[in-house]
Symmetry: C2
Subunit: 309 residues, 2 copies
Amino acid sequence: MYDVIIVGAGAAGLTAAVYTCRKKLNTAILSIDVGGQTNLTNHIENYPGTGPMSGPELMQRFQNEAIGFGAEIIMGKANKVDKTEKGFKVGLANGEEYECKALILAYGKVPRSLGIENEEKFFGRGVSTCVTCDAPLYKNRETAVIGGGNSAVEGALELATIAKKVYLVHRRDTFRADEITVEKLKNNPNIELVLNSVGTKVIGDKNVDGMEVENMATKDRRTLKVDGIFIEIGYVVDTSFVQHLVKVNDKKEIIVDERGNTSHPGIFAAGDITPVPYKQTVIAAGDGSKAALECYRWLTGGKGAILDW
Amino acid sequence: MYDVIIVGAGAAGLTAAVYTCRKKLNTAILSIDVGGQTNLTNHIENYPGTGPMSGPELMQRFQNEAIGFGAEIIMGKANKVDKTEKGFKVGLANGEEYECKALILAYGKVPRSLGIENEEKFFGRGVSTCVTCDAPLYKNRETAVIGGGNSAVEGALELATIAKKVYLVHRRDTFRADEITVEKLKNNPNIELVLNSVGTKVIGDKNVDGMEVENMATKDRRTLKVDGIFIEIGYVVDTSFVQHLVKVNDKKEIIVDERGNTSHPGIFAAGDITPVPYKQTVIAAGDGSKAALECYRWLTGGKGAILDW
């Protein structure tokens, strides 16, 4: 019986563990990986205090600290949560079950992928899912953004202030973004629209050298010579196994208040599994800390009265 | 004319600057100090990713990074903000004025101090204003907490799980905290209540050795032999010079939404000047990042549509 089980070992979950362990709460982390989406970035400059380093290196530090304060990390995919008399029971895909008094859900989202050849192979070596994180690496270089939603369009505009060239590859010929933004896109000399087209293959040796794209009408294929490919086609949320306990929004993200409380007492959430709009390591860490402190407050009977710090 | 002026150079303000500068926004920080309240802590273990270090050392790193990305730091006390045709004008106490398109208020709160002899001298050397930050430094040692509000009471209980002894010095004989919490306080063998009493002097050579307290009824003085003194008598908020622009709550804290928007378009806020309940460096940093990204979104005309990341 743990005091706290944290599901997920990305920036939010590991930070939450640092805080719960420092409050002397007996803490287990259940996770399919250690590092979460931060691992996908090969160069982070905007997590303050550490200087530039790779995502996995930063997450290794978070992990060492969480373990150093006493967190136990158990590898496995949580796929079942039930209320028990004394708290909660979390089941893993391998059949193991763990019990706890309070639960912090911080297992994030998974970026949707194109599912094309070489895509996964080059994650972190030219293929990225985060313009905000990685755009500064492509100063004066050639790049492609894949997608047609807001994050692809805004991403292309942002990238075009840094990169020499941005191909925006979109499977339709219209954009969902608002008119003024689409105008900007069309008027930007650094952006070339590649419409009615899909990426079919990532090309490269050690790093990305290009991307093969196919025009869906003509079936013509061409290769875009690029160093960076940003796949911005959204994220997959999986909260199916907790929806009988906590309220989710229309995107199936777990609804939290500004301190990480979900709709169910004793269940807290932080990071990209919540509706937080900006996926950044430092934001996930901050919200992980809030959820952990709120969890501590709840476990110690302090509900209602927030500390008047 | 700056794109962004950030008022305050603590964890929230410096992180906001890292983010605005990386978005190529021309950024100035106006502040009376660099580091803010984090500077008051001489040993931080719970900011993930850096390992333990002093507050000033961590803030020096934040500062170096903000400056490295292009932020300009201007020392001075902001005491005037006006709306202009193109944005805002911020005045300093020395009469200087600076203009900007958007404004991020992140100048925090100042812990209220007792105003007694040696108190300021020993800040960071035994005198602390943050139990959550510094309690782990006092394992098996003797300590005092000054105050009678929730943060003092909760702080004493938290400290008593780590320290050998906690004197709780309170000027009245009743507590504002709820009954169940006060019961816990009275039943805790590690806590000694020193009621109807005020601290009159901090005693020490290089570090704190004790605290002189006076019983307000009898005027008797005694010395508590302690290594750590936690002053938990609240924080002073000063938002008087921005209240004609932004809405504040009953504690005069600037009201923000979950992304750092204030009630005034183009003005954002983060950190301890907002109602965020837990004052932690990583939380201020995370919220500083949110405010900066929201500011960028606003400056680039993206109001309404949040990026569907």
